[in-house]
Amino acid sequence: MFAPEFDYYRAGSVAEARELLDAHPDSTVLAGGHSLIPILKLRLAAPAALIDIGRIDALRGIASDGSTIRIGALTTHAEIAASDLLKGKAAALPEAAGQIGDPAVRNRGTIGGNVAHADPASDLPAVLACLGAAFVIEGADGERRVSAPDFFQGLMTTAVGEDEILTGVELSEAGDGEASAYSKFAHPASRYAVIGTAAKVGLSDGVCTSARVVVGGLVPAPVRAGAVEQALVGQAVTTELIAEASRKVGDSLDDDDLLGDVYASAGYRKASAHAWVRGALSAAVARAG
């Protein structure tokens, strides 16, 4: 519970943050600190320097140009959970952000830190993957955009390079007849996701025109449940169909990859994942219809 010694630098801009990262080998970005500081206190990491980006105002905020929503990396979970824009146009995201940890965590933790940390039990990776988000990364060669399957590269690894900074994420607004939802089995101690499921569906006259279902929590990085999606698209949506389609989630889960722990084994998580898929789908369908 006592961090090892480190140097601390506060960056005033993204450019300055990048320079500091470059100038200090073995340095790490500090955002809300709610994943990094515990790691330091447990002495699981000992970076030589922390580059605090927490006060770069340009990295904060939620805005839309009418079709694309941009969320700055430093936007907190609490800000996301309270955003009317997101509630209307990307409902799964505020729904998930509102279930992260507790109020203190939500007031400090940031969307950028959450996805850059890429803890498999985090909520936002699955949601952002489901919503087709583009992750905006700034590095020596300027800005680049990476989407979900390429961004989350596995257990706690992402496409963000050592000297790069994630500046924000971009999402498309939900169109007419489209909606999303998030359903979570929270660990009773940490509140992290034992199973977290995000679903986005498009409906037209009661028929499913598009579906994207992503599960997290029980896998190293978010996994798309293709079989569930296929069972829905083109079908008239009923409660039975949703339940039946949800049961196909297991088809997309590779047993060798599944995560389990003392609280909930991999086998159990796999066997009960369909209930959370069903929950997310039902809520998304209700919103879309």
Binding site: L42, F185, S190
Partner: protein, 785 residues
């Protein structure tokens, strides 16, 4: 107005300082020249220490000293076990404050660093090189008893710390042979981690010139710490002052005296400077005592009409790597003697094996032995009900001890003080609408929903005392309490007590006792506790004994004051003492209440002493020592309603209704708070909490990220009711209420879940009832059918 405050729900005076952060805990105290200690703890559950190299640590920045077991050898004695359970073959392994050549749990102290700052102390820990030779570990009590299990202590064969039995009533073998029905179960009372909000800490300040040492310590019993610390660390009791400043909860985990505290004392003596040690939360999980950890094989014999004829049990109690201060008494005296519960059981037999395991030592944890007993009995009664097809209510009623108000003997040798168990149950059923709930349950089942109702009717033993019994059961201390009540000239009051409240609210309720006895406003009464230099001797706050024993001492002191005040009042009013009357703080001659002397008038006159009656001493002060004639036995009836989702195994606690009887309530709001907190901790055991070790003895639930404490949003509004049955032997009739909720609630919630699962034919499920366990139990039952 004032006397009426006894029994009213006035606000806790403790709270403003606690909730505004102005309270001062051990770790808040800063002394000039203070150094900081950090303990190097074993990362292995069982290993030989081949060598320790402290050179780099000693040379590190800010480091003042590094000590190992070689340095403390002969300077501090092993941490004592002070409950010498008789007739049990008790074998106490030396608990060296710093391990000598072997470590036996993850958390055993290997070395201590003292540095100028806490950061430097922790940095230096990383520089100590210890060469360990790992040994096989055993973490589960029944496995520890098994042939071929790794052995913890050379001199203790089979890891057995003790084997204790209780036998009472008729022949147990016959009872079982002749019974119509026998039900059996194996129960795992999982290990729990107490999680007091404040972790443990010690600040020792030694003055070489006088040989005096002051120890600020997170303890529930500073006088016991003074006594034992004087023996262990060689500071004579008259030169040792122990202060329990604000203490942020204990739940039993701050009863014990700990190696780290003695090591801190050692460092201060050695260096002649104040030394502070405060554990981190992770260290707390490893090094502060745990609770429960039983494997219980239990069976109940009954007639076909559901009349219990015998109860038999074997318990393997994990004690951890060493015996903590009071540990041996918990799975035995505080457990086995309570196996009759609220029932008339004609024959009882229990064997308890206390076993050393490579785990953190266990101690009392809220309820301490009684939750484990209540759970056994309440589980068996429900199994019996299911077996013979009766409602659990009916089986309970057929076996209740009938109402009694002045003593009832049970076959384990205890005499319960007073109780009306059916009365509490009847009130519960009425308040909860039990019949309606059963109808709703049946209707829900029709719709494929799974609701369960769980009862727990309990009695518990608390108010630990009398001292004579303490001696007989091997408790190495007394179990009385004392109080000094002192009136100042202005009529304000100081109460000095030996008990040591740490969150329960006795600063408020004790002022209410004085108000009730002497008619002063509770606002005029200050309650002083927690400092061995300015409070009288007391044996501490645990076992729901502070009000039951300390409160009685205070009431008796107040009555002495009243007697003396009456004599002074008679003198001042020029009347005969026999003609005096007292009412709500006023003394007057019978028939003339208008000309009276208030207790404040008398306090002034007694303090100035200008005109005292012949032979009466100056001052208005009394001391009382109260050694109770018996324990007190609070009781009650609780009901939990749950709904389970068979698809995922999730359990939702829908309703919780409690009826508790702790006798007259000094402050019903505080009683309700105790009941709430207690119930929630018991629910935690049923649904969420479990300290898990892997087979190598690594604590897998080592942080709050893994160890699931109850949270408000997972709990229903708890419905609290009470009945009032005074204890016949207590001056105020009161019984304890600190642990009752915990003692009752685990079984209620567990029984409710099993009731919900009844359509599936589920047998036993281990606690905590996690979604996976519930789900698997259904899968397994479906596989069987």
């Amino acid at each position: 107005m004032s006397a009426s405050t006894f029994g009213s729900g006035i606000r806790r005076r403790e709270d403003p300082r606690l909730i505004t952060g102005s309270a001062s805990y051990t770790d808040d105290i800063v002394l000039p020249g203070m150094l900081h200690a950090a303990m190097l703890r074993s990362p292995y559950a069982h290993a030989r220490i081949e060598s320790i190299d402290t050179a780099a640590a000693a040379a590190a920045s800010g480091v003042v000293a590094v000590y190992t077991g070689t340095d403390t050898e002969g300077e501090i004695a092993p941490a004592p076990c002070a409950w010498l359970l008789p007739d049990s073959g008790l074998k106490i392994a030396d608990y060296h404050c710093i391990a000598k050549d072997t470590v036996r749990y993850v958390g055993d102290i290997v070395a201590v660093v003292v540095a100028e700052s806490r950061y430097e102390a922790y940095d230096a820990l990383d520089l100590i090189e210890v060469d360990y030779d790992p040994l096989d570990a055993v973490v589960e009590p029944k496995q520890s008893a098994a042939e071929g299990a790794p052995q913890l202590h050379d001199e203790i064969e089979g890891n057995q710390a003790f084997h204790w039995t209780v036998t009472g009533g008729g022949d147990i073998g016959e009872a079982f042979e002749n019974a119509d029905v026998v039900v059996k179960e194996t129960i795992v009372q999982q290990r729990l981690i107490p999680n007091a909000m404040e972790t443990r800490a010690a600040l020792a300040s030694y003055t070489p010139a006088t040989g005096e040492l002051t120890l600020w310590n997170t303890t529930q019993n500073p006088h016991i710490v003074r006594f034992l610390c004087s023996l262990v660390a060689g500071v004579p009791e008259d030169r040792l002052r122990v202060i329990a400043p604000e203490v942020g909860g204990g739940f039993g985990s701050k009863i014990a005296v700990y190696p780290a505290d003695f090591v801190t004392v050692f460092c201060s003596k050695k260096l002649g400077a104040p030394v502070k040690w405060a554990e981190t939360r992770s260290e707390n999980y490893q090094a502060t005592t745990h609770g429960r950890d039983h494997v219980q094989e239990i069976e109940l014999a009954a007639t076909k009409d559901g009349k219990i004829v015998g109860l038999r049990a074997t318990v393997w109690a994990g004690m951890g790597a060493y015996l903590s201060t009071a540990a041996p008494g918990i799975p035995t005296i505080l457990h086995g003697l309570m196996l009759s519960g609220v029932y008339d059981i004609p024959a009882i037999h229990e064997d308890v094996y206390g076993l050393y395991t490579n785990t953190t030592p266990v101690e009392a944890y809220r309820g301490a032995g009684r939750p484990e007993a209540t759970f056994m009995v309440e589980r068996l009664v429900d199994l019996l009900a299911a077996e013979i097809g009766l409602d659990p209510v009916e089986v309970r009623r057929r076996n209740f001890i009938p109402k009694f108000d002045d003593g009832h003997d049970v076959v384990t040798g205890l005499t319960y003080d007073s109780g009306n168990y059916d009365g509490a149950l009847a009130k519960l059923l009425d308040k909860a609408g039990y019949d309606q709930l059963r109808a709703e349950q049946a209707a829900a089942r029709e719709q494929g929903r799974h609701i369960g109702l769980g009862l727990s009717t309990y009695v518990e033993i608390c108010g630990l005392g009398p001292s004579q019994v303490a001696g007989a059961i091997g408790f190495q201390g007394g179990l009385w309490e004392s109080a000094i009540l002192r009136f100042h000239p202005s009529g304000k009051v100081h109460v000095m007590i030996g008990a040591s409240p740490h969150g329960q609210g006795e600063e408020t309720t004790f002022a209410q006792i004085v108000a009730g006895e002497l008619g002063v406003s509770p606002d005029d009464v200050k309650v002083i506790h927690g400092d061995t230099d300015n409070t009288p001797m007391g044996w501490g706050t645990y076992g729901s004994r502070t009000t039951a024993v300390g409160g009685a001492a205070l009431a008796l002191a107040a009555r002495k004051i009243r007697d003396k005040a009456k004599v002074i009042a008679a003198h001042l009013l020029e009347a005969a003492v026999e003609d005096m009357e007292y009412d709500d703080g006023k003394f007057f001659v019978k028939g003339s209440p208008d000309s009276s002397k208030t207790i404040q008038d008398i306090a002034l006159m007694a303090n100035v002493a200008w005109n005292m009656p012949e032979g009466v001493e100056a001052g208005l002060e009394a001391t009382s020592f109260y050694d109770p004639p018996n324990f007190v036995f609070p009781y009650g009836a609780h009901l939990a309603v749950v709904e389970i989702d068979p698809e995922t195994g999730h359990v939702t606690l829908v309703r919780y209704v409690a009826v508790d009887d702790c006798g007259p309530q000094i402050n019903p709001v505080i009683v309700e708070g105790q009941v709430h907190g207690g119930i929630v901790q018991g629910i935690g055991q049923a649904l969420w909490e479990e300290g898990v070790y892997d087979e190598d003895g690594q604590l897998l639930t080592g942080t709050m990220l893994d160890y699931a404490l109850p949270r408000a949003d997972r709990l229903p509004n708890i419905e609290v009711h009470s009945t009032v049955t005074p204890s016949p032997h207590h001056p105020l009739g009161v019984k304890g209420i600190g642990e009752a909720g915990t003692i009752a609630s685990t079984a209620a919630v567990y029984n409710a879940v099993i009731d919900a699962l009844q359509p599936f034919g589920v047998e036993g499920v281990n606690m905590p009832l996690t979604p996976e366990r519930v789900w698997r139990s259904i899968q397994e039952a479906q596989g069987r059918n």
